[in-house]
Symmetry: C2
Subunit: 217 residues, 2 copies
DNA sequence: CAGTATCCTTCCAGATACTG
DNA sequence: CAGTATCTGGAAGGATACTG
């Protein structure tokens, strides 16, 4: 237990005793979509400071929310345990709250791929998408991810889709401005920074399903 | 924006910029179940220190997650705004995580009524309760609260139930040991610290529905 | 690459005194 | 009652130099 505990018999206080320190939840965000090496974590968490990252990893390992794994012989990394994966709902719920008040991008802020994935997971499909069953694939700075809508439920993960109705290749900055509504789907389809396979109308539908602000409520 | 920001364009980082400081989420927990006066908040957050509570309240008001309201003429209090209420899902998700690793009560830890309410909201009804439709009422140190199960969905709130199949009066400590499984429903029914209206079998069912550990998985 | 070690700054806990 | 103001020790955080 951390030295600084709330000392309340409360599930929330207990969770915060564990996770409430600075950076902890962002480290878990980085690991939410697969194992990461120490140096990759440093990249994804600009300005964390090596001592803090090491301290957080030590804590999370000791609480068995994460574990060291051998990625390939000689290369090891950190990976979520089943206990750690149980936090996904909480991270998504917090992200959903944060997304509502985030607005368009602020100058000087960096963009992580893990943030984009989390933002996609935090989206809620509108009621109107109840009867859709299709997949969208994105490639952001070369990294593939996909979203599937089926029965009104959205499922997002990294990796390629099996039968996407749309493939959109672009960079992080452009994708973020698309999500925020700053860049409309039609403008994106025409943009030289975007490589789109699929009809522009499909991209419009995708934007509505994922709640990209230009179309939705 | 706080001085210490993560400066990432990420919905989670954004939420934590706002809520990540110590005490902030616990203040919101206290307000989740109704308006509270400054002195009531101090009671519910032992050891917070008047300056920190004032600082957190100032921040939350300025971000319009809470607002001052006049409870009765001359008496004012703090209350969640609609924006603040949007955090309930996140608090419940974190509490659900915390509950899994909380175990039985630690010596020296205090118990707040708001924590009990949150813990009840974090419960998930088992599949077996799909066909139940009933209400349970609790009175903990005199404060009424209730849980309703219907269609497999659990709804918990403060206040009295309309047609409870069970009324259980006790103190916070006993109720907590009941929730943790330390005290079995049958032992509780016989305990002098508990005043139960309703069949012991009903209390057993209630304990299963609310996931009190002795019966459930 | 994967961390420790170090130094310095900022924040927090706890106490207490004061104001309208 | 509902705060604000001030103080002090200690813990956490930030930056960077260093090591196996």
């Amino acid at each position: 237990m951390p030295v600084r505990s709330y000392r309340q018999h409360c599930p929330l206080a207990h969770a915060l005793d564990l996770l409430g320190e600075r950076w902890t939840l962002l480290v878990l965000r980085e690991l939410l979509h697969g194992p990461r090496r120490y140096s990759e974590l440093l990249e994804g968490l600009p300005s964390i400071g090596t001592n803090l990252l090491a301290a957080r990893l030590r804590l999370l390992v000791s609480e068995s929310l994460i574990e060291r794994v051998e990625l390939t012989p000689g290369i090891d990394a950190y990976s979520l345990t089943a206990n750690g994966r149980a936090l996904e709902d909480a991270l998504v719920a917090l992200a959903r709250f944060g997304a509502r008040r985030m607005g368009t991008r602020r100058g000087g802020s960096s963009i992580q791929l893990s943030s984009i994935l989390l933002a996609l997971k935090a989206a809620r499909a509108p009621d109107a998408s109840q009867d859709l069953d299709e997949e969208y694939q994105f490639e952001i700075d070369g990294a593939p991810l996909h979203a599937r809508i089926r029965g009104g439920v959205l499922h997002v993960d990294s990796g390629a889709a099996a039968f996407p109705v749309l493939v959109l290749r672009t960079d992080k900055e452009t994708f973020v401005s698309l999500m925020s509504g700053e860049l409309s789907p039609s403008a994106a389809a025409a943009s030289p920074a975007v490589d789109l396979a699929g009809a522009p109308a499909t991209l419009e539908r995708c934007a509505r399903v994922l709640g990209w602000s230009s179309g939705a409520s």
